[in-house]
């Protein structure tokens, strides 16, 4: 590339070999360096003359820094906590030459730094990545066995016809729910999602919800708050005086946001990093708090113990916002319900003990106490409806008993954190005016991650650190425009809508919104019910459940009795119970094998822990596997068709965001690449092909998963709304999605694509975003949950409060009704080392894992990071190849030895591709991802599964291994 561009620039260093004979004099000529004052004048001008040639070697560099045009774009990958950044894409001779940040974001207000420039090293080299040898240039069809790497180039027409036929075969022979869409981190919620959602709804295919499976389920947040999505804006840290980095490594994973942390520290905030290793994020902290991996709950409970003992708690906050004053029956350990006391009582109404009136059913439509004064502590007696008396205690009293076992000296034995440091941490938290937490989806990747998160949520609740600026435990960051659902609904005519099939298909529409309003459901709760309908009706199904049931992954839980001392019965038994009682769902139903998989912007064979089971159990059942991606992946290598998707600078698109950087980002197509097409176009052409092939085959209709007859003959007409959105109308789709959004302030596509970014004006109504429960106001940073804390809107939980006590059967069975510490299971066998991980500095998922420049800045191949002490004990030297093994398998990798990692821990950072390991045996092979039975819970109001949350998950951090030199 470099040479090519240089040649085309028509310039070479040698040209000046003779010309530049004047020696040093020429360099001193032309004082072209501007004085600072001059630049303002320049900044206003849009046209600069071509600089006069120097007539010497300098023109090579001058020529380099020239371009034909600049296009705004971004990287439509799931950068998650650090999403997204506006980039200028510099185009020269029709090719993208380089990119540089737009860096034109405003300050939210004068008291917080502006976000500029944002960006990271990965974004800064996508212009290199997009031309690298991993790109897919043409539609490919496998000609050797799967995984052989033998391909033939086929035409787009052949590709879409054959894939369409495979879909129709499946529908005809097995059922529409056997067609599986596997969606991954490239999912945009823009045109790509618009196309996919339309086609999958029309064909009633099964879409995998991979959020909990990837380990981003934040179950502890969901258990406590009834939702997972709530997060601050990164500039909100400027109002904190204490920031706990706990369960994250933002110096790796929040590169564009990290300056807010280092700068907040200069502003006066204490930065504390709680982590097992002396991570990159520890180096800029005021305190490093070492903790053994998997024991954060013990540490947190100890912090809570000190807070309670030292009376550093906010009793008013707890009485109003949490379930800590709620009453629990001594006999059943269940929360006391009105159904216990009254004949017409409900199983959902709970009690607290009012100072004056005794047991009072807690208000459910608002958090306002209206003069009630709940006792936080105490043991009382109530009369049940059968006249018997039963003792009840407040949750807080039970908690205080629980905490008694976690004095710093006790907890230190579990978590390894020095007692004095635990006390110091607790005092700092107790005395902070506004304490914030910086986290990622790390805890959720532990088997007992829910317990850790519940404890984290608890210590922030005890100190009243929610709602106020610069405060709060945070969940999962998500902020999006809410127009995908309206865009999908637009396919259906009024008469379709009268026919309830269409409504059922959309899923959530089966829910009776009016009834819910009458019952006092908040807007958020109603959105959640729609989201639950999407899961129960099968438009989306839990990815984790899918792989456990259909992918053979449950095999990894077979030895769980040996690994998890707390287990009461085989997981398979709990799974069966859960499905039978409809606590959880899976599509296709057990016994109905999946037949076809379309993998879009996803990479399940890299992503899924213990993926060899998938290849062994699921892959043979699939007659067709199709991957749509811009690059070759571990999954593409095992596919039957690989369809070249456009890279991010090769299409017009926009993408969801997070409150951390509450801006929608867009991109305008800057160039094209061989035969690559946007996902919208690929899916549109696929829809066309389905329509045509169905006609050719005489298939007029098909039977959907509910047994209803659905038309096929007008499929493309519906998909495209009568041709309004054609295959190359990406920009029209972008425009329509923006027009439909309720939370972008009337933003228009031409305006967005010109600017590249725009701030959200509200959280909107999408299930992923509404949980933020706050307002987005100009000039203000974002603090989540203010709707609850200040407007007293109930939390979407059973208790309508932050809920720390869970009495669903499985929680009682597993002894997890209160936040608790449990020792991590020995997943993979009784080996001395924990194979942990974390998102990497060097890639967003696997998208840059095999990128040349990124690898040049690492070690050129995967590494396992091992502490000095463990390395010395095993005679492993830095840079040596080692064998890592457990009961499941083994793999080979280079060791990187560091004093920053504690004894007993190994780290393999995220997302190395299988093809980067010898014999294709990657580190995921050793991760059994046992299913924690408590995650199969459901039934109770807020524990029922919904999109992205409250489904079982896959976990990896508890994996036990041994390592030896090769």
């Amino acid at each position: 590339m470099g040479q090519e561009l240089k040649r085309r620039a028509g310039i070479s260093r040698r040209r000046f070999l003779i010309a530049g004979t004047a020696g040093t004099a020429s360099l001193a000529l032309g004082l072209r360096c501007l004085q600072p004052g001059d630049t303002e004048a320049l900044a206003g001008s849009s046209v600069a003359p071509a600089p006069p040639p120097y007539g010497d070697w300098r023109d090579v560099y001058q020529e380099r820094w020239r371009w034909d045009k600049v296009v705004r774009s971004s990287h439509f990958v799931n950068c998650w906590y650090q999403a997204h950044c506006a980039w200028n894409v510099y185009v020269k001779d029709g090719m993208v030459w380089r990119e540089e940040q737009v860096a034109d974001y405003p300050q939210t207000n004068a008291s917080v730094p502006d976000p500029n420039p944002r960006g990271c090293q990965k974004g800064a080299c996508f212009s290199e990545r997009m031309y690298d040898p991993g790109r897919v240039r043409h539609p490919l069809k496998r000609v050797g066995p799967r995984g052989s790497g033998r391909w033939k180039r086929i035409s787009w027409e052949q590709a879409t016809d054959e894939v369409a036929d495979a879909m129709l075969d499946t529908i005809e022979q097995d059922g529409c729910d056997r067609v599986i869409w596997e969606l991954g981190p490239l999912y945009t919620e823009g045109t790509m999602t618009a196309g996919h959602q339309r086609l999958s709804v029309l064909m009633d295919s099964t879409n995998l919800d991979m959020n909990t499976e990837i380990g981003d389920g934040h179950r502890g947040a969901a258990e406590t708050f009834g939702k997972i999505s709530f997060e601050s804006s990164a500039d909100d840290y400027f109002y904190s005086d204490l920031i706990l980095i706990w369960g994250s490594n933002p110096l790796y994973t929040q590169i564009p946001n990290a300056h807010y942390l280092t700068e907040a520290r200069y502003k006066g905030a204490r930065l504390v990093c709680i982590a097992p290793d002396y991570s990159a994020s520890s180096i800029h902290a005021d305190f490093f708090v070492p903790v053994k991996p998997g024991t954060d709950a013990a540490l947190g409970l100890s912090v809570a113990q000190v807070l309670v003992e030292e009376e550093l708690i906010d009793r008013d906050f707890l009485a109003e916002q949490t379930d800590l004053p709620m009453l629990v029956r001594d006999d059943t350990r269940r929360l006391l319900r009105t159904a216990d006391l009254e004949g017409s009582g409900s199983d959902e109404e709970l009690y607290f003990w009012d100072r004056e009136r005794g047991a009072v059913a807690a208000p459910r439509r608002s958090l306002r106490l209206d003069g009630l004064e709940p006792e936080l502590e105490g043991r009382f007696e109530v009369t049940l409806k059968d006249g018997s008396r039963v003792g009840v205690s407040t949750v807080f009293s039970l908690l205080r008993e629980r905490l008694a076992g976690f004095r710093p000296e006790d907890a230190s034995k579990i978590c390894g954190t020095p007692p004095a440091l635990i006390r110091k941490l607790a005092l700092q938290l107790g005395q902070a005016k506004s304490a914030a937490m910086v986290t990622t989806s790390n805890m959720a990747k532990y088997y007992h991650g829910n317990l850790m998160e519940r404890v984290q949520a608890l210590v922030f609740a005890l100190t009243g650190n929610y709602g106020k600026k610069g405060s709060g435990f945070v969940g999962f960051p998500w902020l999006d425009h809410d127009s995908i659902e309206p865009f999908v609904r637009d396919m259906f005519s009024l008469s379709d809508m009268m026919n309830t099939t269409a409504l059922k298909v959309i899923g959530g529409m089966v829910v009776d919104t009016a009834r819910m309003k009458l019952e006092g459901y908040s807007e958020e709760m109603i959105v959640h019910e729609h989201s639950r309908g999407v899961i129960s009706e099968g438009r989306m199904t839990s990815g984790a459940m899918f792989w456990y049931v259909h992918g053979g992954l449950l095999e990894g839980s077979e030895k769980l009795e040996q690994w998890d001392p707390y287990l009461k019965r085989p997981v398979r038994e709990v799974l069966d119970e859960s499905l039978e009682k409809e606590w959880q769902y899976v599509w296709p139903k057990p016994g109905n094998d999946p037949k076809m998989m379309l993998v879009m912007g996803s990479n399940p064979l890299r992503r899924i822990r213990n993926y060899p089971r998938i290849l062994e159990h699921l892959w043979p059942k699939l007659h067709t596997v199709v991957t749509l991606d811009f690059r070759m992946t571990s999954t593409a290598l095992q596919s039957d068709y690989v369809l070249p998707a456009a890279g991010w600078y090769e299409r017009s698109e926009h993408k969801w965001a997070t409150p951390l950087m509450p801006y929608i980002h867009s991109g305008e197509k800057a160039t094209s690449y061989y035969e690559a097409k946007s996902d919208w176009e690929i899916i549109s052409r696929l829809a066309m092909a389905v329509d045509e092939r169905a006609k050719a085959r005489g298939m007029e209709s098909f039977v959907d998963r509910r047994g209803d007859e659905r038309p096929l003959h007008n499929l493309y007409d519906k998909y495209s709304q009568g041709g309004r959105f054609g295959p190359t109308d990406d920009e029209e789709v972008c425009a329509d999605l923006l027009d439909k959004a309720t939370n972008l302030g009337g933003l228009k596509w031409p305006e967005l694509k010109k600017k590249g970014f725009a701030r959200f004006e509200g959280i909107g109504k999408s299930p992923g975003s509404i949980g933020n429960a706050t307002s987005i106001r100009p000039g203000e940073t974002i603090t989540p949950l203010t709707n609850h804390v200040f407007d007293k809107v109930p939390y979407p939980t059973l208790s309508r409060r932050m809920q720390f006590y869970l009495d669903q059967e499985l929680y009682l069975e597993m002894g997890e009704e209160l936040p608790m510490h449990k020792d991590p299971p020995m997943a993979g066998g009784d080996y001395p080392l924990m194979l942990t991980g974390g998102h990497a500095r060097w890639s967003i998922h696997a998208s840059w894992r095999d990128d040349k420049l990124m690898l040049q800045q690492q070690r050129g191949e995967p590494v396992v990071i091992i502490g000095l002490e463990d390395a010395v004990d095993r005679r492993i030297r830095d840079g040596a190849q080692v064998r890592v093994f457990n009961d499941l398998d083994e793999f080979q990798i280079m060791a990187k030895v560091t004093p920053g990692v504690r004894k007993g821990q190994l780290i393999v950072y995220h997302a190395w591709e299988n093809f980067q390991f010898k014999n294709g045996k990657g580190f995921q092979n050793l991760i059994p991802s046992p299913l924690n039975p408590v995650e199969l819970a459901g039934g109770q109001y807020h524990l029922r599964p919904m999109v992205i949350a409250l489904q079982p998950s896959h976990t990896d951090r508890d994996t036990r291994v041994e390592v030896e030199p090769l």
Binding site: L17, I18, T21, G23
Partner: protein, 223 residues
């Protein structure tokens, strides 16, 4: 030394050190010496080379011929290896040059002086082109062209044979040496041993004084 007259030939012919023309030329052994440390141009070079041997090639065999149009020098010296392309940063390439005064009185020891240029014909093992260089004092050398001087080196059996040639007269304003048959000129040679880290002023050369070169007159019969 004499530059033997040979019958007119293609320029290319001279560049082959095994060519017949060279059989007739008398070879002269020139003793080479290292350039003095004190004359190295920068303090850094002097510090880096203090106590180190400069000029590792002790002698070179030199011959010259001309055909009335082209003057060619043939230099031969022993060299441990014939590595042309230095593969690494600390590796340097072998080189050789012939230096001629552009004007009378130009000092060779300082590579000329302001207003008194010397003219070097410079060959380096990693460059297919030879350079035509003028200098008016140490560190002032500049390439005036890469077309007029041609050079070719062959490394065989532990010896470099390098031919460097140029037309006797060249139409240019540059202060180069203009030569003619029958005339006498001074000359010097320099050899750089890349293996020894020699480059720039770190080299072996034929001494602080010009050697004499007598160009044969073109025989009457051929005029």
């Amino acid at each position: 030394m004499r530059a033997h007259y040979v019958p007119p030939a293609q320029f290319e012919t001279f560049l082959d050190p095994e060519a017949a023309v060279w059989k007739e030329a008398g070879r002269e052994e020139l003793k080479l010496e290292g350039t003095p440390l004190g004359m190295q141009l920068t303090a850094h070079i002097r510090a880096a080379w203090a106590g180190r041997k400069i000029g590792s090639v002790a002698r070179a065999s030199v011959a010259a011929v001309h055909d009335g149009q082209v003057l060619a020098f043939r230099l031969e010296w022993s060299a441990a290896n014939g590595g042309r392309e230095p593969a690494d940063n600390h590796e340097f390439t072998d080189g050789a040059a012939v230096v001629l005064p552009s004007s009378a009185g130009a000092p060779i020891i300082t590579m000329g002086a302001p207003g008194m240029a010397v003219n070097a014909w410079y060959w380096r093992a990693d460059d297919e082109r030879a350079r035509h260089v003028v200098a008016e004092g140490l560190g002032s050398s500049r390439t005036v062209d890469v077309e007029l001087v041609r050079g070719r080196g062959t490394w065989k059996d532990g010896r470099w044979c390098v031919v460097i040639a140029r037309a006797l007269r060249v139409d240019t304003q540059e202060p180069i040496a203009q030569l003619e048959p029958g005339a006498e000129t001074g000359f010097g040679v320099a050899v750089w041993d890349g293996n020894h880290g020699e480059r720039a002023g770190i080299k072996a050369f034929s001494g602080p004084l010009w050697h004499e070169l007598q160009l044969d007159a073109v025989p009457e019969t051929t005029r």
